[in-house]
């Protein structure tokens, strides 16, 4: 009960702080709109690349054979040239060696598209074109099958990565920045969390809390929960505005997306309290958080689109969260989301444990 009272108080004070409101709600909305507009063009796939070569193989009774012939003819106008393949294994090898941009197999169930592991731009373009073909065929019902399906295959272990025709729509600028600004804003919540405890000390209210018949742990948990709740509320508002006013695409797995974001809020809050508890003064804490914020933002796909996040870049929470959400929205892929959720929660709990231990040792709050 005391935890609830403290959490509610925390939410009230946060909500009444105009600066917090601006950074949590105003700024991300403005940035989404601004960046979404500025980068409108660069996100359209108008990158000029050289000729692209695709191998294809058709099973005997493919119902949409004729339509695909027409598609291939049209594709040549876009400098995508299809060549009939000799045998599947050989073709896949060629794609793997990068001599071809992709290999397409047609049968009565749909289209199987094999592309190189290191997704090339060419591979993406072809994938996009195939997608459009599938969409249009389904719309006009010209494929003579109930539902034409495009399946993109990973070369290495041959497992099906993306299976529905909804997959692989590429994000527009507004879609992309809706995600990256939301995750950035959440991580910047760390800056508020470093003051969660020190604020009480500054106002001397820490003393009142300590003399009250409640435990330090209750005070601490109340503040953490309050912070997580109010920041969750803030990002939900940003999602609603971007989704319903800017028509940004948040995908079909919004529940999971929100859960990933909540764990990010949790991470930002616990990162804040641990910085706040190990630094000597608010000034030092502020400098630390500024460095953290700048580094994480620069080395992330926050203001530009990162094609491939790997290696050390993956150690950046912004990257693992962004990747998780983009995969949820555009690839229907839950694996990166699971990893992000586990990472966020484990790291948060670790931070909280250290903070609680430090807090327990000290007299007062």
């Amino acid at each position: 009960m005391n935890i609830v009272s403290i959490a509610i108080k925390e939410m009230k004070t946060s909500f009444r702080n105009p600066t917090t409101l601006f950074f949590a709600l105003g700024l991300p909305v403005i940035l989404i709109l601004a960046l979404g507009t500025i980068f409108l063009d660069s996100f359209k796939s108008t990158i000029t690349i050289g000729d692209m070569k695709v191998l294809y193989m058709e099973q005997p009774n493919t119902p949409f054979s004729k339509e695909f012939q027409m598609f291939m003819n049209e594709a040549s106008n876009s400098k995508v040239f299809f060549e009939k393949a000799e045998n599947p294994e050989d073709s896949k090898k060629k794609v793997e060696q990068n001599s071809y941009d992709g290999y397409v197999e047609l049968n009565k169930h749909g289209i199987y598209f094999y592309q190189n592991d290191n997704k090339t731009i060419g591979g993406n373009v072809i994938q996009g074109m195939l997608n459009t073909f599938v969409d249009q065929s389904n719309l006009a019902n010209s494929a003579k099958v109930d539902q034409l399906v495009l399946m993109t295959m990973d070369m290495k272990d041959d497992y099906i990565k993306e299976t529905t025709i909804y997959s692989n729509k590429q994000p527009r600028a507004i879609d992309y920045f809706s995600v990256s600004m939301t995750t950035m804003m959440i991580l910047f919540g760390t800056a508020n969390a470093i003051h969660l405890i020190s604020e009480e000390r500054k106002r001397n209210t820490a003393d009142r809390l300590i003399v009250a018949p409640i435990t330090k742990l209750e005070i601490f948990l109340g503040k953490i929960f309050g912070s997580v709740f109010i920041n969750t509320f803030y990002f939900l508002v940003v999602i609603v505005i971007s989704k319903y006013i800017f028509n940004a695409n948040w995908g079909a797995n919004l529940g999971v997306v929100i859960f990933v974001l909540i764990t990010e809020v949790f991470l930002a809050t616990s990162l804040g309290v641990i910085i706040g508890s190990i630094t000597k003064s608010a000034k030092v804490a502020n400098s630390v958080i500024q460095v953290v914020a700048i580094v994480t933002t620069i080395f992330s796909g926050t203001f530009y689109k990162m094609e491939d996040i790997s290696g050390v870049f993956y150690l950046n929470p912004l990257n693992w969260v962004n990747e998780a959400i983009l995969d949820l929205i555009y690839a229907n892929d839950f694996s990166t989301a699971t990893l992000a959720i586990v990472l966020n929660i484990v790291v948060s709990l670790l931070f909280l444990l250290v903070t609680i231990t430090l807090l327990h040792r000290r007299e007062g709050l």
């Binding site: 005391n2 009272s5 108080k9 001397n204 003393d207 809390l209 003399v211 009250a212």
Partner: protein, 311 residues
């Protein structure tokens, strides 16, 4: 009944001893004054009683129970008015008091009732929905008190609650303290204003450098210095007064110049009033009034320590 017992209470900060072997008892119904100059160890003692600081040595009992063993019980029965304002400026007056009272387990209509009562008590009833950020110092002090009394503690500890406020609010607060006491609260009142302590306290301990130097009722303390008197001379202007000159007069021990009131501390047995007045007249200093006072707590402190309570 003993509301508070301190036995051999000691607090060290490193090598520095802030509170030194203090043993005191406060009985139910008392307004107990804790008088001492800056740095005497008043707040440190209070912090140990309230559980903000751990004592280095010694024991504290609240209502007969050890506060270390019965932490929650002790906390439930204590209310603290901290020396420094401890309120949330972004919560309304009502929300502030309600939040803190709520931490003592009050809920629902009882909570509302007691919060309203506390605000009524400090005269902030018409300010329920105001934010304290724009309040005067006196109003903030009153809110600071309301936050400590809404849960109706048996023992209310006030650490210099009248610091930095206008005389009117100060009187209001002192009256409220007497009223609270009549309603059944035992009060510990900390101050370095001896007038306040003299006015409201039923028993007083004078502390200095962490030690209790004397303890008793006002009368008992004054008896310590019956051989001294105070002569207060109000003048039109204190311009031409040279303290060293007056100190040469036989019997005079010390002089304090408080604006236009010259406070002369002197031996009781030596009749030097004529000589003192003569000094003023011969230096053409206009006298407005002369008062001879029996010894006050200020003098008790002076006599026992050789220093003024406030420097």
């Amino acid at each position: 009944m003993k509301v508070l017992e301190m036995k051999g209470l000691t607090k060290k900060f490193g090598d520095f001893i802030a509170v030194d072997n203090v043993t005191l008892t406060v009985a139910e119904g008392e307004i107990f004054g804790f008088l001492g100059p800056n740095g005497a160890g008043k707040s440190t003692s209070i912090h140990m009683i309230s559980g903000l600081l751990r004592s280095t040595f010694g024991q504290i009992n609240i209502l007969g129970k050890d506060i270390v063993k019965h932490r929650k019980f002790a906390k439930m029965n204590i209310g603290i008015v901290p020396q420094d304002l401890a309120i949330y400026e972004d919560l309304t007056v009502y929300e502030n008091v309600k939040f803190f009272a709520g931490l003592y387990g009050l809920r629902g209509s009882r909570l509302k009732e007691q919060v309203a009562e506390a605000l009524e008590f400090v005269g902030l009833s018409d300010k329920h929905n105001s934010y304290p950020i724009n309040f005067s110092g006196g109003m903030k002090r009153r809110l600071n008190i309301a936050c400590a009394i809404a849960h109706r503690p048996k023992l209310l500890i006030m650490d210099e609650p009248t610091v930095g406020i206008d005389p009117q609010t100060r009187n209001y607060i002192l009256d409220s303290i007497k009223k609270l006491n009549k309603m059944g609260s035992t009060i510990i009142y900390t101050s370095h204003y001896m007038e306040e302590v003299e006015e409201i306290c039923t028993r007083i301990a004078i502390v200095d450098h962490g030690k209790v130097i004397v303890e008793g009722t006002k009368e008992q303390l004054q008896a310590v210095v019956t051989d001294k008197k105070d002569i207060w001379i109000e003048v039109k202007s204190n311009k031409n007064i040279r303290a060293q000159e007056i100190e040469k007069i036989k019997g005079v021990e010390s002089i304090q110049i408080d604006e236009r009131v010259i406070k002369i501390h002197s031996d009781m047995d030596i009749n030097n009033l004529n000589q003192i007045i003569q000094y003023f007249l011969s230096n053409e200093i206009e006298i407005r009034s002369v008062e001879e006072k029996s010894s006050n707590l200020e003098n008790v402190f002076l006599t026992l320590t050789g220093r003024n309570l406030r420097d």
